[in-house]
Amino acid sequence: MVDLSMVNWARAQFALTAMYHWIFVPLTLGLSFLCAFYETLYVRTGKEEWKNIAKFWMTLFGINFAIGVATGIILEFEFGTNWSNYSWMVGDIFGAPLAVEGIVAFFLEATFFAVMFFGWDRVSKNFHLFSTWMVAIGSNLSALWILVANGWMQFPTGMAFNPATVRFEMQNFWEVLFSPVAMAKFTHTTSTSFMVGALFVITVSSWYLLKGRHVEMAKKSIIVASVFGLLSTCYAAWTGDESAFVNASTQPMKLAAYEGLYDGEKGAGIVALGWLNSEKKPGDSLPAFDFEIKIPGGLALLANREINSFVPGINDLVYGNAEEGIESVAAKMEKGKAAIADLAAYKAALKVGDAQAADGALAKFNANQEYLGYGYLLSPEQTVPPVATTFYSFHIMVFLAVLFLLIFVLFLIAAVKDTIAAKRGLLSLGFISFFLAMIASQSGWVVAEVGRQPWAIQGLMPVNVATTNISAGSVQTTFFMFLAVFTLLLIAEIKIMLKQIKIGPEGF
């Protein structure tokens, strides 16, 4: 038997590492573009104040980048040790995107980063500006590749399973790259990261204005950040809508979980505000909510672009719905078990050199291989992710996104009217906005990752099959080591960042 506590510790360790890594990444992605905007204003206007502003935010960008760089590499360590079955089976798919990411990151960091930080007085203004833009574009493109890999796990496409090598092998690179899930994930992740960067600028600038320090610099920073943040929020709303639309066809269980929809219906409403019934289980007759406010037809419109269309709920997806042509998980489990048995028979036939039996087993396996992952489940209900975690994370994210839209609008109006310095209530809200942005950003990933449980690879491999057959003890040890290392790095980041913020732009 596989040690289930090991599976859960490996999950916890991966979540811990990914969430710490994600503290640094969105700020890098968003702030890099703001640095480019500030420097563009300097080059276009020739005003030294924009240069000072650009240099100040660039320094904070540099601190965040330096502390965060390579924290994601630990995820790759974990693949090899804790997730060896998964790592072996996806190696052919992930190799290309991650290699491209490595090459892009290396050349970007070795060249344009150096010019950005060392080159202020040593290269032309235009070349320095070009380098800053390349850092912004390159950092975001670098994120593309890891998101393509993540997108493939959520919607495996462009590949074929090779039973001889026991690997998913890439058949079509472009199909993997341009899969709808990968594209939705990339655009939504980067657009929300732009919001995080803009809110970071608003937080620091609000603090300056509350303290009455660096007032002109803070006001100018806020104008640019508010415009960027406002546009990014509109873009993020569009990409978020697209993500949900893609979820409806590729991961309908995730959509049902983050909307708390148990029984599918035509013209399903979207929950604007709700409190789940904690006693509710799939298949029972209890109400899903203790309290809810729904927008009629909203979910149907989001999922299918048709207000009266049918949106399947958790019960439809688990127990099937013949009328809507939805197969039950129990039926998929039978096919999955047959696929596993045929794969074992293929291996046994090869071992004794019986080519005819091997071919027969392989043909039968191929007929059911898309259900492979279901064969490892013990009950249909295992396909239901933690509904409460997914639902509340999604609604916290959406609620905060609406709040951010309001913050950007109010800051922009007040900054343009030049009344911002007097609005202490708004500045206090602005001061905490970056911390709220981190909560929203992390919540987004909780929706994406918790919402796709129990799958490591959607439909093909549940997490308990993806792990290495080792004891939980070693994973527990490294879990706490990571907790210590990452916490130290975070403390270092906060201390250095606060010190530089206190020094302010005059220190550069």
Partner: protein, 76 residues
């Protein structure tokens, strides 16, 4: 000309590193972090399971196949 070009690049990086103030602290953090990650964590705590326990790709493939078709996984 090529030599001048490369020596210009060399001087650019050398002077850049020499003039760093905050950057020196950040580089120290980066180097300590990389040391902890690769020389301690990776080396002692994160062996690649399949690389460490099997010598050929065929053996690794056989092991993974055993893992995904064997009774250990199906009983979970």
């Amino acid at each position: 000309m090529g030599q001048t070009y490369f020596s210009d690049i060399y001087r650019f990086y050398r002077n850049g590193f020499q003039r760093m103030t905050l950057g020196k602290t950040l580089w120290k953090i980066i180097l300590i972090k990389l040391f902890v990650m690769f020389a301690i964590l990776k080396l002692f705590f994160f062996p690649d399971f399949l690389q460490s326990n099997f010598s050929t790709d065929q053996e690794r493939a056989d092991h993974v196949l055993e893992q995904i078709t064997g009774p250990a996984r199906q009983n979970n």
